[in-house]
Structure formats: structure tokens, C-alpha cells
Symmetry: D3
Subunit: 240 residues, 6 copies
């Protein structure tokens, strides 16, 4: 059975980065993985959380949200329901950890950068798009600081970070699942890796039957290749 | 003193309506009043709130939110703080009442349409932009239903609705305040009117000194003229 | 059709101010607009909100609540439901803005006065009664400070403030709507004005059909006359 | 040392019941124990909590609140802080149990009566005043039903219920503590008893040193006598 | 009718104290009253609540919780429902007051000890078991401080504290109610007393018919005897 | 550098399962991985969540909590703070998914089993201990149903499930991290696998530097071996 999208197993969706979309934010990027659109902003504040004060180190954190009608059926607004759900908390913790993996918090100094990732339209893979686009917003925020001689971007930002979701669809390992594929996938795994190919996060989940070591290895290969392409696209986007 | 924007007192900002921006919503519109950008979606559900069941009538409601970095300083995410603030609740009640003023709820039948207005970028006048763009999303949702012969758009939608914020800036009445003007205005008034020129909502507030009847009348004239122009733009946008 | 209350269009309800009803509060007033009874207290605290510290200026704020059985059907207690609803937040913001419009916050000094308005019995117009009675409580609190030479009442309190709700009932503009009239009114507008006749807030809402400029003007005239009478009654009450 | 109030050890404060103070409630009573004033309303609803449906039995429950400035220092409004505190929950559970102790829930039928006790002004003993006045509101609600031939008051209401707070002040047992005495009391005990002298609730707490059996017995005697007087006053108030 | 447990009226359940069950806590005790098992830990912190700072005095507080399946039917987890219920708040306030009754807060110094009482398995009398076992955890925490010469246990801890629940079962006063007895009891009273026999708390509640003074006196005698036995068991447990 | 625990790299802690520790639960198990102690109960309810009604399928869910002093420093009680944190939600979602991976929900029928995992004492690896012990509680619950001929345990329970946390400590891959090792580990990965060796969940996180594919493979080997041993211990525990 071919992929619903007609893509080849190792073919990711069309990915684009639209930088500087926010008039206010120090860094911003509208990232698109096909029909998945995530607005990422990086906000700089000259303070850190209370538990980090006087540590000499900075902090990078993330928040994630979905617009109520970013999805096929309208979801309840989390601000209205009075709390962020477990999925939201899980995703924003993941984005934050991913960003911190490539930031030298001491070089950042006692400042906080918040990466807000708001899903404008969802079609699968929102968390991996958020990480990949969030990195561009983070980069541009550090660039903004660099230009103002507030800090050295090259010392703070150690590497690229990008992410992709792969899965076993109809028995075959495929890369960059869209919503139709994700819903039908037997296994779903998110990979977060650096520009150097280091692994930052792996999250693999059997949706139906358990998966084997061989299946996992195949997903891994797809992820490694796709992430290398995403890093190349990030480089083009920032003009590196 | 001239307006910070360099506009004439009766000159509104460049306004645009970008329809069909959402792959999922039955109606959607990205409305821009200058640098104020609001994404409006209309979501149809085949159910009404519990207190309306078996009434034979439908309901139109609205929700409003701001992305955390839509503003100059990052605001706390309402989903994270655990509740919607008073300003948010006040605005979404206003949007809902405005939409219902031009909808025949009996003709709609037992269905609910939710207008979500999410501020992507804020530069003053977000609530009036939301109402003006929300009407386009509502129209397109009704058009979607009309095309599927679910309901008669012409019977349900009785008129246009549009809104503008006017104020006394440096002693002079001006229309369509942007953020810089709004912050410095002595008086701020929001007007919501129909295509026929009927008044649906007036909210006038003295920020500093009380205002006079004459000043209010001058704001009213600005609002009447600007709203007429906004209605014309809505007509162009929907191809009417 | 005559008004349910049998009143003339320009006739307000019997209004009374009962001062000093609280043993503890620095200022207090039980205000009655017919069967609408609101207990207003003014509480002085020698501190301001965190965002105002070291500004040299004071603050006046308000809170509003309804006893669960102040209404025809028992309402759920907001303390029990875990949050204040949108209507409550909207009203207490309105009361606070109204009070601040006639207070010189610099002359007040770094202190906060909280006006609590608790509806003991509701029959329409609770927010306008709260503003009108809240002013008396505020006055008496400033008087209390004046007598103790803590501050100069005459420098702090710049003017009277009073409010009324007018509406179009059965096609005719009438003043000071009670609950029966308010429920049936096509249009409802709240006006907040100073003793000098300056306008502080206008909130007009079409409940059914949009209203015209002429109708709004008629409501305005009623409001101007009624508020002038309310200010006279305030003067009598405080013995001015 | 004499009591701050100058009262004799066995002398309660001046107690009054003002019936029918609410235009809307089926039963209502403003009860005063000296400067402690509590507004009690009884609200009838033709439904019971979910867990009682189809049981053929009714329910009586209570809610308790304090106006923010009923006390010497302004308290935070519980609706604003987002939850009812432990003290509030404890008191309203006590009031509810006390009322149910004298009601035949089967005779009541599948209905709920809610006793709302709102403290207008506090000077000690608010919970005991609330129980004593709440009974009058409950009685009047049942009378209202009786007159409409909805139910038999005499079958439903089995007895009077009244309450008082006693304590050891400066080594001596005294009855009906006011705030000044309560703050200084070594031991504080609330007693809830029926018109027949049956005990419904006893809550004794050592504030400082533990108390002895003899001290407790002395408090008990004061309570028995005071409650008998309160029941007599209830009888006068309802014209029994 | 004999007691369901087959016990004599004055016979308490088998009670045991298992000390030092927590690797981390400064003091801990797993207390068992028959099938009621409560894990009590005492946690020392070198800080006091904000309102006590710079008072030179310490604080002892308590928290209480039940594991969801400590009971016959699974209860909803309070962390999941978003708040502690009225019963929980009432019980933890009682435990805290009971502990403070035998602690010299000045001798403790500016520190806080928190007694956590978590019900592992419930079979009636959880609050009285928590108080009785909580005292052992408190003692061991003070002993831990004593051994480190941080404070003098003998100066701080003034006496034992223990508690029991008695009731009228099938017309007869019995001691230490288990769940089956508690559910069927007409009257239920909790007593908290010191090693010297001083009374700290009495909470008596008529579940059905009011109770008489004679019945209360009989419960009191049971409580006095049982608490004396519990104090002896505490002494054995701590090796005093 | 040797492991703080003195264990060999592939040596797990002493693991024990204590079954039937709860008088009330249909299945229960106190699982110990060294000093990490988790009480797991399985509660059967004859109903499913609303969104599953009339599906003919059952549901298995999990909740996770930590006693406040299960840790070195006392944590705030989640019931008191009013919500479950992101970590808690993440863990209980993981436990639920893991259990469902080995349950035939159709064979279960329209019933829900809730696995409560409460950490009595924490020393690292609480989530993996919870999964491993939770399976035993689940098994015993299904056995309880089997004995009552309510359902067929052998049809419902498809396999064992067990979990372990492995990490890179001081450059070396080691299995079953305790708290001291976990705090110092550069990389931490949780593996959940079935008795047949199928993979259900993989969660790998770089705490400091990114990790390599080779390191991940080494962790995988440790996990495979340790989980095989855990499954053998489960078999011994249930007498299979």
C-alpha cells in the first residue's frame, strides 16, 4: 500500500522556514512541514527563574499550544478549560530540553529565552516541526543579541537541532508522518538530533503490536537522513 | 501634534482580509488592520449548549486569545496561568454578541458556530479587527453550509457587522487607533455597527479626564464613516 | 404599553443611601435603587499592588459579588465554582475605572482603597447602583482619613460619580431599568458621569435589533437628567 | 478580670431575628448576635444531587461565606482566590449536618433546600449565629411550602436547632464569646442542640493548654442554658 | 447485638507502631489500628511560613491524604480532581492543632515540621490513627534533632498526644470504631487527649438521632481509657 | 569510576514483588527495586470512559503519585498545589500505554481497570518499577476476575510487560540507575518491553552532551537483559 501522501518512504514533506514574521519578537519563524504550520517566537527576558538566580547561568524554556481550530475537529481552548493537558506539557518539556541541548547556558548569562511554538494548522508532526522551526527562532534571537553586542552567538549556540517523526505504516518504515499516516501507523517514533548527528531525544511508542529491534533500526536510519536534510534547510534559511 | 502613524484624523489603516487560510475550518479569515493581525476561524458543530437543547434555535459564540509574543513584551500564556483574564472574557463576550446581532438563530437551526479570534500580532484595535474579520469567517462558514444545502445563508445572515476603535488623541478625535495612539489617548471608544448603519455596541471609556458630549459625537462620526468603509472592504473580499 | 413599574419614562426608582452600616470598614454605604440593594464598603490598606510600588501613587480598585440568593433563582456561589465569571470581572473593572476617574492618585499617596460591592438583593441595575453607592463609601473613607490628618479629602476626591442604566422599553426610551424592564428591553445602555456632567463610561448594547443614533441620544438625555438627580441625592446623603 | 463586653458569664448577647428580609428567597432571616450579623436564606429547588436521584428522599445543604470587609481587616474574597478555604468548608458542612438533624428527609420528598449563610458583619460566633438563624430561614421555607400545600411542615421539621460558642476566658467559663473574648480564650467549644435538649454536635478545641473534664462540663452547662434561651427566641420570632 | 469485629465494648483493635520506615524522613512511623494503616512522616525544614518570619517561633503543620484504593471503592485522586476536599482539609487542620498542643513552638525555634499522614489502607478511624502515629513520627524527628544538638527534644515536646474514635453502636457505647461499626453508628465522637489526660479536641456528631449527655459521658469514659492504653503503647514503641 | 552502588554495569538492584498487600483492591503489589518502593493497585470498575461507551471494548488506565516525603527533600503535595505536574502526567500516560500494550481490550469487555502507582519511597527508577509492579497488580486483578468467571485471564492478558532505566554513567553504560547514578548520568533511557522481547516504549534523553548510536545500542543491550530477568522474577512471583 502506498503512502496516502504518495511520497516515497524516505521522502519528507516540503519544508519551509519563514523568518522574521513577528514585528515584536527578538527571533521568529513560521515553519511549515507540508500542511503543518507552526509559528515559533523567541522572547528574551533579562531575568531567570527564581531557582536559578545568582547562578551566573541562563535558561531556555519552551511553551506549546494549538489554536482551537488548527485541527480537523475544533478542540477546547486550554485557556478556557483552565489547564494545559498532559500532551501539551509533555511536548513543551521536550522542546525545552531539545533547545537546551545545543545552548551553552553559562555563555548565555543570567537571561531567559522562551520559545513559544503555536500550531496554526496541524497535519501531524507538530512537535518535530516546532523543534526544527524553534531552533531558527532561537538562532535569530541570539543573532539579535549578537548584533547588539549583548552576547556572542557563536559561543552560546553550539549546534543545530532538528527533529522528525518516523513510523511503521502498513508494515513499512517511512519518514515524516502526516496526520493520515500517523493515525494508521503501528509504531511512531520521534527523533531529535544535532547537526553533528548526536542524539538528543528518542521517543518510540508501539501503538498496536510491540515493535522489533530491526524495525526500530530502520526508523532510525530514516530519521538520520531526514534530519540531515532538515539541518541543510536550516542552514539555507539562516544564510549560513 | 500629528498622529504617530502620520495618518489623517479620519484615515484608517490599510485593511486586508485573507480568506480560506485554514485547511480545516468551515470559514476562516486572516484580517489585518495595519500591524494588527488576527486569525479568525468559524467552526460548525451539530449541537448547541445544554441550556438551548430542543429550543429549535442555534447559537453563535466567540473565543478570543492572544499569542504570548503577539505583544511588545511577552505576556503569560493564559492556558498556563490557568484562567482567562477579565479582559479576554470581556472581549470574547463582545465578539459573540456582535455576531449574534446579525444572525437569525432560528434560521440557523440547532447548531453552534464558534468564532475563534486569535491575535497573531497586536498593534492596537485587536477586538475591532476580530469583529470585522470574524464576520468574514462567519460568512464563509454559512456559505459552506449553503453550498451543501444545509441551510440558507441569505436567511441566516441578516447584515454585515464591523467595528472600529476611535479616540481623542492630543485633543483631536481620530479613527482606528494603533497601539502608540491608544496608549496616549485620553478617551477610547469602540463602536460596532451593521452594514445598514444600526448600532450594536458602544463602549466609551475616559482614560484620563472625563469627555464631553461633543467629543463623543465627533468620535461617533469617525466611527460611522470608517465602519462604512470597512463594510465596503468586506463586500469586496467576499465578492459581493 | 406603560412601564411594569408604573413609573414615568424619566422617573427613577426611590433611591436611598444608608451610610456607616459597617462597624469595621473605613467607609460604607447600603445603597438602594428600589428593590436593588448593594452593600458598598471602602477598605484602606497602607500598601499598593506590586507593579505600583515606589511610584508615589496610590490605587483604587473594586470587587463585585452577588449573594447566591440575591436573585429570583439561586445562582451558584462563585467561591464554590472556583472562579469569577466574565460578567463579574467586567463589572468590577467598570466600578474600579469609574472610581479612579474622580480620584487624584498622587494625592492619595502609596495606599490602596478597595471598594467591595456586594449585591444583597437584585432587581436590575446592580452595577449602576454599585457605582453610585460606592462613591459614597469612597467619600466616607477619604473623610475618615481626612479627620485623622492622613490625607486631604478635598485634594484627593475631584468630583462626584454616579451611574444609571437606561433602555428602550416597548419602543420608548426610559430611565433606571428594573429587572422586568431590563429583561424585555431592546437596548440597554449604562452611563457613568461626574458631578460636572463629564462622561466617564458609556456601554450601549443592542439586545435585539440594532439601535439608531436618535435612540441613543434619547437614552443619553435620560441618563444626564437622572445622574444629576443622583448626584444631588449623594450630596444630601453626605451632608454637603 | 471581667469580660470585655461587661456581660455576666452566663449572659448571651442581644439576639434578634429579622424574618422575610429577602424579596426572592422562600425563607430568609437576618440574625444578629450583638455585632455579628448573618443573612440566612433558604432556597428551594425541585431536584436533588445526582447521588440521591430516585431515592424518594430530599436533601438539605448549606453554604457559608463572609463578605470581604465583614471583618476588622479586609479578607481576600474567596471567589477571587479561586477556592473556598478549609475553615469555610468545615463551617458549611457543620451547618448542613445541623439542619439535617431536625429534618425528615423522606417527608421532604425529592427536593433540595439550600441554606446560604453570608456574614455581613463579624464579631465572633458566626457559625453558631448562622445555625440559629438558618433554622428560622429553613422554617419559613417549609412554611412557604406548607401554605402552598406542597408538603407538611409539621411532618418535615422535627425540632428546633440552635447553637452557641462557649469558652474559658481568663480561667472562667463564659457563654456566647464575642471576637475579643474568642481571641483571648484558652478553650473554645461550639455546641449545637435541639429544642428538646438533644445534642447534635460538639466541637471543643484547646487553644492553649489542654482543658479538663470539669472545664468542659462547665461549658456544657452554659451551652445548655443559652441554647434553651435561643430556642425561646426562635419561638417568639416565628410566632409559635 | 455484638460488635461486627467481635470485640468487647471497651476493647480497641490491635495497634502497632513501625518506626523508621522511611529512608528519607527525619521521623517516620507506619501506624496500624487493625486494618487501618497510615504512613506518618515528619519533615524538618529550616524555614517557617511567611506570616511567622522573625517571630522567633517555629511551626508544626500536617497534611493528610488517602491513596485512591485505600478504600473499598476506588476514590478519585485529589491531585487529579484539582483540590483537596472539605473532609481532607478538616482532618489535616485537626492533626496540626493536635500536634501543636504538645509542642513548645518557641523552644523549636524558627523551623517547620510537617507531619504527612497518608492512608495506605482504610478501615475506619484514619484521623485518630494519624494523630496517634503522627506523634511518634514527630517524636522521632525531634529525637533526630536532639542527637544532632540542634534542639532539645525534652524542652520542645511537652507531652504525648493520642486519639480515638468512639460511638454508639446498636445503642451501646463502644471504643475504636472500625468501618463497619462507624457506618452503622448513631453517634460518632473523636477525642484527642494528652498523656496527662488533658483534653485537646472533642468532636461529637449525631449521625441520626441527637444524643444525650449520658451517652456522651459514656463515650468520654471509653476514650479516656483507650487513650491511656495508646499512650502506653507509644511509650513502649519509643522505648521510653 | 565504579558505580556508587558498587553494582556491576549489568547488575540490577534487588527486586521483589509483595502481592496482595491491599485488603480492598482486586489486585495489588508492593514492588521494590532496591530502595525504590512503589505500591501498585489494580481497581476494577464496571464502566468505561464516556467516549468508549457502547464500543464493546474495555480500558486500562493508570495514575501515578509520589508521597510528599518519598524523596530526599519534601515535595509539595500535588493535591494541595491543585494540579498534577507535567512529569506526573507524562509518567501516568506512559504506564497506561504500557499496560494496554499487553491487554486485549475487546476480551476485557466494557470495564475499566485503573492501575494506581504510588511511590512510597523513591531512589530512582520509579516509573520503571511502577510498570513492572503494575503488571503484577494487573495480572492479579485479571486472576480475580478469572476465578469469579467474569472473564478469561488468558484471553485478556497477552504477555508480560516490564521496564528498566539504563544510562551512561561516567562514560559507561549501566543498567537500573538509582538516584545517585541518575543524577550524575549523561544520558538516561527508559525501555519498556514484553516477555517476548517486543519493544513497547523507548524514551532516551541526553542530559548533557548528545549521545551516539553506539551508546544507545549498549543501553539497549542492558535493557534487553535486565527486562528478561524482571520477567523471570514476575513469573516466580505469580507462581507461573
Amino acid at each position: 500500500m502506498p503512502r496516502p501522501s504518495g511520497r516515497m518512504p524516505d521522502q519528507m514533506r516540503t519544508v519551509s522556514f519563514d523568518r522574521g514574521v513577528s514585528k515584536h519578537a527578538e527571533g521568529s519563524c513560521l515553519v511549515k512541514f507540508g500542511d503543518t504550520h507552526v509559528l515559533c517566537t523567541a522572547s528574551l527576558e533579562e531575568r531567570v527563574p527564581p531557582w536559578m538566580r545568582n547562578s551566573g547561568r541562563g535558561w531556555v524554556t519552551a511553551e506549546y499550544g494549538m489554536l482551537p481550530r488548527s485541527t480537523g475537529d475544533r478542540m477546547r481552548r486550554e485557556a478556557s478549560s483552565g489547564k494545559q493537558g498532559g500532551r501539551t506539557l509533555e511536548i513543551q518539556r521536550l522542546i525545552g530540553r531539545s533547545m537546551r541541548a545545543v545552548v551553552d547556558l553559562e555563555a548565555l548569562g543570567e537571561r531567559q529565552i522562551t520559545i513559544d511554538c503555536d500550531v496554526i494548522q496541524a497535519d501531524g508532526g507538530t512537535r518535530t516541526a516546532a523543534i526544527t522551526g524553534g531552533w531558527v527562532a532561537l538562532h535569530d534571537c541570539l543573532d539579535w543579541m549578537h548584533q547588539r553586542q549583548m552576547a556572542s552567538k557563536t559561543r552560546i549556540l553550539k549546534d543545530h537541532i532538528a527533529a522528525v517523526s518516523c513510523g511503521i505504516f502498513d508494515g513499512n518504515p517511512v519518514t515524516d508522518l502526516d496526520y493520515a499516516e500517523d493515525s494508521a501507523a503501528e509504531t511512531d517514533a520521534n527523533f531529535v538530533m544535532t547537526g553533528q548527528g548526536g542524539i538528543v531525544e528518542i521517543q518510540g511508542t508501539a501503538e498496536g503490536a510491540p515493535f522489533s529491534r530491526e524495525q526500530f533500526d530502520a526508523l532510525f536510519e530514516h530519521a538520520r537522513n531526514t534530519i540531515a536534510q532538515l539541518v541543510d534547510l536550516q542552514k539555507q534559511a539562516i544564510g549560513a
